[in-house]
Symmetry: C2
Subunit: 212 residues, 2 copies
Protein backbone atom coordinates (compact mmCIF):
# COMPACT_ATOMS: atom_id res chain seq x y z
CA UNK A 1 0.00 0.00 0.00
CA UNK A 2 1.33 3.40 -0.97
CA UNK A 3 0.77 6.66 0.85
CA UNK A 4 0.83 9.71 -1.42
CA UNK A 5 0.78 13.38 -0.49
CA UNK A 6 -1.54 15.40 -2.73
CA UNK A 7 -1.93 19.14 -3.16
CA UNK A 8 -4.73 21.18 -4.66
CA UNK A 9 -4.56 21.13 -8.45
CA UNK A 10 -3.19 24.29 -10.02
CA UNK A 11 -5.68 24.16 -12.88
CA UNK A 12 -8.62 26.55 -12.82
CA UNK A 13 -10.99 24.31 -14.72
CA UNK A 14 -11.84 21.43 -12.40
CA UNK A 15 -15.05 20.68 -14.31
CA UNK A 16 -13.11 20.23 -17.55
CA UNK A 17 -10.48 18.03 -15.84
CA UNK A 18 -13.24 15.95 -14.28
CA UNK A 19 -15.01 15.43 -17.61
CA UNK A 20 -11.73 14.35 -19.24
CA UNK A 21 -10.89 11.93 -16.42
CA UNK A 22 -14.38 10.41 -16.57
CA UNK A 23 -14.12 9.97 -20.34
CA UNK A 24 -10.68 8.34 -20.19
CA UNK A 25 -11.83 5.90 -17.49
CA UNK A 26 -14.98 5.03 -19.46
CA UNK A 27 -12.80 4.34 -22.51
CA UNK A 28 -10.89 1.77 -20.46
CA UNK A 29 -14.05 0.20 -19.03
CA UNK A 30 -13.45 1.49 -15.52
CA UNK A 31 -16.28 2.79 -13.32
CA UNK A 32 -15.16 5.37 -10.76
CA UNK A 33 -17.44 5.55 -7.72
CA UNK A 34 -17.00 8.54 -5.40
CA UNK A 35 -18.12 7.73 -1.84
CA UNK A 36 -18.95 10.75 0.31
CA UNK A 37 -20.35 11.16 3.82
CA UNK A 38 -19.86 12.70 7.27
CA UNK A 39 -17.00 11.33 9.36
CA UNK A 40 -18.11 8.04 10.88
CA UNK A 41 -21.07 7.29 8.63
CA UNK A 42 -19.46 3.97 7.74
CA UNK A 43 -17.72 4.53 4.38
CA UNK A 44 -14.91 2.03 5.04
CA UNK A 45 -17.24 -0.49 6.64
CA UNK A 46 -19.62 -0.33 3.65
CA UNK A 47 -16.73 -0.58 1.21
CA UNK A 48 -15.28 -3.58 3.07
CA UNK A 49 -18.64 -5.32 2.89
CA UNK A 50 -18.99 -4.59 -0.84
CA UNK A 51 -15.48 -5.97 -1.47
CA UNK A 52 -16.27 -9.16 0.46
CA UNK A 53 -19.58 -9.58 -1.39
CA UNK A 54 -18.64 -8.79 -5.00
CA UNK A 55 -14.81 -8.78 -5.00
CA UNK A 56 -14.81 -12.17 -6.72
CA UNK A 57 -16.98 -10.90 -9.60
CA UNK A 58 -15.23 -7.64 -10.47
CA UNK A 59 -11.70 -6.32 -10.05
CA UNK A 60 -11.76 -3.55 -7.47
CA UNK A 61 -9.22 -0.84 -6.64
CA UNK A 62 -9.56 1.69 -3.83
CA UNK A 63 -8.35 5.24 -3.21
CA UNK A 64 -8.61 6.26 0.44
CA UNK A 65 -8.53 10.04 0.91
CA UNK A 66 -7.90 11.48 4.35
CA UNK A 67 -6.20 14.47 5.89
CA UNK A 68 -4.15 12.18 8.08
CA UNK A 69 -3.59 8.49 8.99
CA UNK A 70 -3.60 5.36 6.84
CA UNK A 71 -5.96 3.19 8.88
CA UNK A 72 -8.60 2.93 6.14
CA UNK A 73 -6.20 1.89 3.38
CA UNK A 74 -4.66 -0.68 5.73
CA UNK A 75 -8.12 -2.11 6.49
CA UNK A 76 -8.87 -2.36 2.77
CA UNK A 77 -5.53 -4.01 1.89
CA UNK A 78 -6.27 -6.74 4.45
CA UNK A 79 -9.17 -7.76 2.19
CA UNK A 80 -6.73 -8.44 -0.63
CA UNK A 81 -7.65 -5.37 -2.65
CA UNK A 82 -5.11 -2.88 -3.98
CA UNK A 83 -5.42 0.54 -2.40
CA UNK A 84 -3.58 3.83 -2.11
CA UNK A 85 -3.85 6.23 0.80
CA UNK A 86 -4.04 9.81 -0.41
CA UNK A 87 -3.32 12.59 2.09
CA UNK A 88 -4.99 15.84 1.12
CA UNK A 89 -2.61 18.35 2.71
CA UNK A 90 -5.31 19.54 5.12
CA UNK A 91 -7.94 19.93 2.42
CA UNK A 92 -11.45 18.67 2.98
CA UNK A 93 -12.10 17.31 -0.51
CA UNK A 94 -10.60 15.61 -3.57
CA UNK A 95 -10.69 17.42 -6.90
CA UNK A 96 -10.32 15.84 -10.36
CA UNK A 97 -6.56 16.51 -10.56
CA UNK A 98 -5.95 14.92 -7.18
CA UNK A 99 -8.08 11.92 -8.14
CA UNK A 100 -6.15 11.52 -11.40
CA UNK A 101 -2.84 11.64 -9.47
CA UNK A 102 -4.11 8.96 -7.07
CA UNK A 103 -5.18 6.74 -10.01
CA UNK A 104 -1.69 7.12 -11.51
CA UNK A 105 -0.37 5.46 -8.34
CA UNK A 106 -3.14 2.87 -8.10
CA UNK A 107 -3.03 1.77 -11.75
CA UNK A 108 -5.90 1.17 -14.15
CA UNK A 109 -6.30 -2.59 -14.23
CA UNK A 110 -9.72 -2.51 -12.55
CA UNK A 111 -13.44 -2.76 -13.32
CA UNK A 112 -14.42 -0.49 -10.45
CA UNK A 113 -12.33 2.09 -8.61
CA UNK A 114 -13.81 3.36 -5.37
CA UNK A 115 -12.72 6.78 -4.18
CA UNK A 116 -13.42 7.11 -0.46
CA UNK A 117 -13.53 10.88 -0.19
CA UNK A 118 -12.67 12.91 2.94
CA UNK A 119 -15.33 12.64 5.68
CA UNK A 120 -17.25 15.86 5.14
CA UNK A 121 -20.78 16.76 4.00
CA UNK A 122 -19.82 20.13 2.53
CA UNK A 123 -16.66 20.52 0.43
CA UNK A 124 -16.60 17.18 -1.46
CA UNK A 125 -20.00 18.05 -2.98
CA UNK A 126 -18.53 21.22 -4.49
CA UNK A 127 -15.83 19.50 -6.56
CA UNK A 128 -16.48 17.09 -9.42
CA UNK A 129 -13.89 14.35 -8.80
CA UNK A 130 -14.42 12.79 -12.25
CA UNK A 131 -16.57 9.92 -10.94
CA UNK A 132 -19.29 8.11 -12.89
CA UNK A 133 -21.35 7.60 -9.75
CA UNK A 134 -21.52 9.90 -6.73
CA UNK A 135 -22.57 7.73 -3.81
CA UNK A 136 -23.32 9.38 -0.50
CA UNK A 137 -23.89 7.68 2.83
CA UNK A 138 -26.10 9.06 5.58
CA UNK A 139 -26.29 6.94 8.71
CA UNK A 140 -29.52 6.76 10.66
CA UNK A 141 -27.57 7.76 13.79
CA UNK A 142 -27.02 11.23 12.26
CA UNK A 143 -30.73 12.05 12.25
CA UNK A 144 -33.32 12.59 9.53
CA UNK A 145 -32.75 16.37 9.24
CA UNK A 146 -29.49 16.18 7.26
CA UNK A 147 -31.09 16.96 3.84
CA UNK A 148 -32.27 20.29 5.28
CA UNK A 149 -28.76 21.26 6.36
CA UNK A 150 -26.55 19.90 3.60
CA UNK A 151 -28.75 20.16 0.49
CA UNK A 152 -25.91 20.34 -2.05
CA UNK A 153 -24.51 16.92 -1.13
CA UNK A 154 -27.94 15.32 -1.58
CA UNK A 155 -28.46 17.16 -4.88
CA UNK A 156 -25.11 16.07 -6.32
CA UNK A 157 -25.43 12.37 -5.44
CA UNK A 158 -26.73 9.61 -7.71
CA UNK A 159 -27.04 7.00 -4.97
CA UNK A 160 -27.89 7.53 -1.32
CA UNK A 161 -27.03 4.73 1.08
CA UNK A 162 -28.88 4.99 4.40
CA UNK A 163 -26.51 3.09 6.68
CA UNK A 164 -26.61 1.43 10.13
CA UNK A 165 -30.29 0.49 9.83
CA UNK A 166 -29.66 -2.38 12.29
CA UNK A 167 -29.45 0.33 15.00
CA UNK A 168 -32.89 1.74 14.04
CA UNK A 169 -34.63 0.63 17.28
CA UNK A 170 -32.23 2.79 19.36
CA UNK A 171 -32.74 5.99 17.34
CA UNK A 172 -35.60 8.28 16.36
CA UNK A 173 -35.09 8.17 12.62
CA UNK A 174 -38.09 8.61 10.33
CA UNK A 175 -37.09 6.97 7.03
CA UNK A 176 -40.24 8.15 5.23
CA UNK A 177 -39.75 11.77 6.27
CA UNK A 178 -36.04 11.55 5.43
CA UNK A 179 -36.70 10.05 1.97
CA UNK A 180 -39.33 12.68 1.23
CA UNK A 181 -36.87 15.47 2.11
CA UNK A 182 -34.19 13.88 -0.08
CA UNK A 183 -36.53 13.39 -3.05
CA UNK A 184 -37.61 17.01 -2.72
CA UNK A 185 -34.00 18.01 -3.39
CA UNK A 186 -33.17 15.30 -5.91
CA UNK A 187 -36.09 13.35 -7.44
CA UNK A 188 -33.73 11.04 -9.41
CA UNK A 189 -31.59 9.83 -6.51
CA UNK A 190 -31.72 6.11 -5.72
CA UNK A 191 -32.08 5.36 -2.00
CA UNK A 192 -30.77 2.10 -0.47
CA UNK A 193 -31.30 1.50 3.27
CA UNK A 194 -28.64 -1.01 4.35
CA UNK A 195 -26.79 -2.56 7.26
CA UNK A 196 -23.21 -3.49 6.39
CA UNK A 197 -23.18 -5.35 9.72
CA UNK A 198 -26.13 -7.70 9.14
CA UNK A 199 -26.07 -7.52 5.32
CA UNK A 200 -29.65 -6.28 5.04
CA UNK A 201 -30.18 -4.39 1.77
CA UNK A 202 -26.62 -4.98 0.54
CA UNK A 203 -27.46 -7.26 -2.42
CA UNK A 204 -29.82 -4.68 -3.87
CA UNK A 205 -27.19 -1.92 -3.60
CA UNK A 206 -24.44 -4.13 -5.02
CA UNK A 207 -26.58 -5.13 -8.00
CA UNK A 208 -27.10 -1.49 -8.85
CA UNK A 209 -23.32 -0.94 -8.84
CA UNK A 210 -22.68 -4.01 -11.01
CA UNK A 211 -25.39 -3.31 -13.59
CA UNK A 212 -23.87 -0.08 -14.85
CA UNK B 1 -35.64 34.34 16.06
CA UNK B 2 -33.58 36.16 13.47
CA UNK B 3 -31.86 34.64 10.47
CA UNK B 4 -28.72 36.49 9.40
CA UNK B 5 -26.59 35.98 6.30
CA UNK B 6 -22.88 36.10 7.07
CA UNK B 7 -19.86 36.31 4.78
CA UNK B 8 -16.22 35.58 5.38
CA UNK B 9 -14.57 38.43 7.26
CA UNK B 10 -12.40 40.70 5.13
CA UNK B 11 -9.77 41.04 7.84
CA UNK B 12 -6.55 39.05 7.49
CA UNK B 13 -5.90 38.68 11.20
CA UNK B 14 -8.51 36.26 12.51
CA UNK B 15 -6.35 35.39 15.52
CA UNK B 16 -6.20 39.04 16.57
CA UNK B 17 -9.96 39.50 16.06
CA UNK B 18 -10.63 36.35 18.06
CA UNK B 19 -8.44 37.50 20.96
CA UNK B 20 -10.22 40.88 21.02
CA UNK B 21 -13.68 39.30 20.94
CA UNK B 22 -12.75 36.91 23.75
CA UNK B 23 -11.41 39.77 25.87
CA UNK B 24 -14.48 41.96 25.35
CA UNK B 25 -16.81 39.10 26.28
CA UNK B 26 -14.76 38.29 29.40
CA UNK B 27 -14.98 41.93 30.40
CA UNK B 28 -18.77 41.66 30.32
CA UNK B 29 -18.81 38.37 32.21
CA UNK B 30 -19.90 36.30 29.21
CA UNK B 31 -18.50 32.85 28.49
CA UNK B 32 -18.55 31.91 24.81
CA UNK B 33 -18.61 28.16 24.21
CA UNK B 34 -17.90 26.94 20.67
CA UNK B 35 -19.51 23.57 19.98
CA UNK B 36 -17.99 21.61 17.10
CA UNK B 37 -18.61 18.12 15.69
CA UNK B 38 -19.44 16.06 12.61
CA UNK B 39 -22.93 16.46 11.18
CA UNK B 40 -25.32 14.42 13.30
CA UNK B 41 -23.15 13.96 16.41
CA UNK B 42 -25.89 15.52 18.47
CA UNK B 43 -24.90 19.18 18.94
CA UNK B 44 -28.46 20.51 19.08
CA UNK B 45 -29.67 17.59 21.19
CA UNK B 46 -26.86 18.12 23.71
CA UNK B 47 -27.45 21.86 23.78
CA UNK B 48 -31.20 21.36 24.31
CA UNK B 49 -30.48 19.07 27.24
CA UNK B 50 -28.01 21.56 28.78
CA UNK B 51 -30.60 24.37 28.44
CA UNK B 52 -33.29 22.25 30.13
CA UNK B 53 -30.89 21.27 32.93
CA UNK B 54 -29.15 24.58 33.75
CA UNK B 55 -31.22 27.22 31.93
CA UNK B 56 -32.75 28.29 35.25
CA UNK B 57 -29.33 28.94 36.81
CA UNK B 58 -27.63 30.94 34.07
CA UNK B 59 -28.85 33.15 31.24
CA UNK B 60 -28.12 31.40 27.95
CA UNK B 61 -28.03 32.72 24.39
CA UNK B 62 -27.44 30.60 21.30
CA UNK B 63 -25.93 31.17 17.85
CA UNK B 64 -26.82 28.42 15.39
CA UNK B 65 -24.47 28.34 12.39
CA UNK B 66 -25.44 26.38 9.31
CA UNK B 67 -25.04 26.60 5.57
CA UNK B 68 -28.77 26.30 5.14
CA UNK B 69 -32.05 25.87 7.08
CA UNK B 70 -33.20 27.22 10.42
CA UNK B 71 -34.37 23.99 12.06
CA UNK B 72 -31.81 24.14 14.88
CA UNK B 73 -32.54 27.72 15.91
CA UNK B 74 -36.27 26.95 15.85
CA UNK B 75 -35.72 23.93 18.13
CA UNK B 76 -33.73 26.08 20.57
CA UNK B 77 -36.28 28.93 20.61
CA UNK B 78 -38.97 26.42 21.64
CA UNK B 79 -37.01 26.00 24.88
CA UNK B 80 -37.50 29.70 25.65
CA UNK B 81 -33.92 30.68 24.89
CA UNK B 82 -32.96 33.53 22.58
CA UNK B 83 -31.17 32.36 19.45
CA UNK B 84 -30.05 33.60 16.06
CA UNK B 85 -29.63 31.45 12.99
CA UNK B 86 -26.46 32.38 11.10
CA UNK B 87 -26.14 31.24 7.49
CA UNK B 88 -22.50 30.95 6.44
CA UNK B 89 -22.82 31.59 2.70
CA UNK B 90 -21.65 28.04 1.89
CA UNK B 91 -18.67 28.18 4.22
CA UNK B 92 -17.87 25.27 6.49
CA UNK B 93 -16.82 27.28 9.56
CA UNK B 94 -17.39 30.43 11.63
CA UNK B 95 -14.49 32.87 12.06
CA UNK B 96 -14.17 35.53 14.76
CA UNK B 97 -15.65 38.31 12.62
CA UNK B 98 -18.68 36.20 11.76
CA UNK B 99 -19.14 35.27 15.42
CA UNK B 100 -18.92 38.92 16.44
CA UNK B 101 -21.57 39.84 13.84
CA UNK B 102 -23.87 37.09 15.14
CA UNK B 103 -23.41 38.33 18.72
CA UNK B 104 -24.36 41.84 17.57
CA UNK B 105 -27.73 40.39 16.54
CA UNK B 106 -28.13 38.18 19.59
CA UNK B 107 -27.20 40.80 22.19
CA UNK B 108 -24.89 40.51 25.18
CA UNK B 109 -27.24 40.09 28.13
CA UNK B 110 -26.11 36.52 28.82
CA UNK B 111 -23.88 34.50 31.15
CA UNK B 112 -23.14 31.87 28.52
CA UNK B 113 -23.38 32.14 24.74
CA UNK B 114 -23.23 28.85 22.88
CA UNK B 115 -22.03 28.95 19.30
CA UNK B 116 -23.17 25.79 17.52
CA UNK B 117 -20.64 25.73 14.70
CA UNK B 118 -21.19 24.17 11.25
CA UNK B 119 -21.21 20.34 11.32
CA UNK B 120 -17.69 19.56 10.18
CA UNK B 121 -14.58 18.00 11.76
CA UNK B 122 -12.08 19.90 9.63
CA UNK B 123 -12.55 23.63 8.91
CA UNK B 124 -14.00 24.85 12.26
CA UNK B 125 -10.82 23.65 14.01
CA UNK B 126 -8.73 25.92 11.79
CA UNK B 127 -10.41 29.18 12.81
CA UNK B 128 -10.37 30.66 16.31
CA UNK B 129 -13.97 31.87 16.75
CA UNK B 130 -13.13 33.89 19.86
CA UNK B 131 -14.55 31.32 22.29
CA UNK B 132 -13.38 30.72 25.86
CA UNK B 133 -14.10 27.02 25.60
CA UNK B 134 -13.85 24.85 22.50
CA UNK B 135 -16.14 21.91 23.08
CA UNK B 136 -16.17 19.09 20.56
CA UNK B 137 -18.61 16.21 20.37
CA UNK B 138 -17.73 12.78 19.02
CA UNK B 139 -20.57 10.26 19.06
CA UNK B 140 -19.85 6.61 19.73
CA UNK B 141 -21.71 5.77 16.50
CA UNK B 142 -18.89 7.44 14.51
CA UNK B 143 -16.30 4.93 15.69
CA UNK B 144 -13.20 5.13 17.89
CA UNK B 145 -10.78 5.92 15.04
CA UNK B 146 -11.75 9.60 14.63
CA UNK B 147 -8.73 11.00 16.56
CA UNK B 148 -6.45 9.33 13.99
CA UNK B 149 -8.21 11.02 11.09
CA UNK B 150 -9.06 14.47 12.43
CA UNK B 151 -6.21 15.20 14.85
CA UNK B 152 -6.44 19.01 14.68
CA UNK B 153 -10.00 19.12 16.01
CA UNK B 154 -9.02 16.99 19.01
CA UNK B 155 -5.90 19.12 19.60
CA UNK B 156 -7.82 22.42 19.53
CA UNK B 157 -10.61 21.36 21.90
CA UNK B 158 -10.74 21.94 25.65
CA UNK B 159 -13.66 19.61 26.29
CA UNK B 160 -14.56 16.42 24.46
CA UNK B 161 -18.09 15.14 24.86
CA UNK B 162 -18.47 11.48 23.87
CA UNK B 163 -22.15 11.35 22.96
CA UNK B 164 -24.88 8.73 22.46
CA UNK B 165 -23.36 6.33 25.03
CA UNK B 166 -26.84 4.84 25.54
CA UNK B 167 -26.37 3.18 22.13
CA UNK B 168 -23.07 1.58 23.22
CA UNK B 169 -24.40 -2.02 23.20
CA UNK B 170 -25.21 -1.75 19.47
CA UNK B 171 -21.77 -0.47 18.41
CA UNK B 172 -18.15 -1.63 18.59
CA UNK B 173 -16.74 1.42 20.34
CA UNK B 174 -13.71 1.03 22.61
CA UNK B 175 -13.84 4.00 24.99
CA UNK B 176 -10.45 3.20 26.54
CA UNK B 177 -8.70 2.99 23.17
CA UNK B 178 -10.49 6.14 22.00
CA UNK B 179 -9.53 8.11 25.15
CA UNK B 180 -5.93 6.96 24.85
CA UNK B 181 -5.76 8.17 21.24
CA UNK B 182 -7.29 11.52 22.25
CA UNK B 183 -4.95 12.02 25.21
CA UNK B 184 -2.02 11.23 22.93
CA UNK B 185 -2.99 14.26 20.85
CA UNK B 186 -4.11 16.51 23.68
CA UNK B 187 -3.15 15.48 27.24
CA UNK B 188 -5.10 18.40 28.80
CA UNK B 189 -8.48 17.73 27.19
CA UNK B 190 -11.36 16.87 29.53
CA UNK B 191 -13.43 13.90 28.35
CA UNK B 192 -17.11 13.52 29.29
CA UNK B 193 -19.01 10.43 28.10
CA UNK B 194 -22.72 11.34 28.10
CA UNK B 195 -26.17 10.44 26.89
CA UNK B 196 -28.36 13.48 26.30
CA UNK B 197 -31.23 11.01 25.95
CA UNK B 198 -30.96 9.25 29.35
CA UNK B 199 -29.09 12.07 31.11
CA UNK B 200 -26.13 9.87 32.05
CA UNK B 201 -22.98 11.95 32.59
CA UNK B 202 -24.76 15.27 31.96
CA UNK B 203 -24.47 16.69 35.50
CA UNK B 204 -20.71 16.26 35.48
CA UNK B 205 -20.37 18.02 32.11
CA UNK B 206 -22.73 20.83 33.12
CA UNK B 207 -20.84 21.46 36.37
CA UNK B 208 -17.64 21.92 34.42
CA UNK B 209 -19.33 24.54 32.22
CA UNK B 210 -20.76 26.39 35.24
CA UNK B 211 -17.58 26.41 37.34
CA UNK B 212 -15.58 28.54 34.93
Amino acid sequence: MKVIELHESVTESNDKDAAELRKSLSYEGITLINIMSSPGSGKTTLLSRIIKDIGNKVKIGVIEADIDSSVDAEAIEKLGVKSVQAHTDGMCHMDAGMTRAAIEELGRDFDIIFLENVGNLICPAEFDAGAHINLMISSITEGDDKPLKYPLMFKESDILVVSKIDAMPAFNFDLDKFSERVKGLNPDIKIFPVSAKTGEGMACLENSLLIR
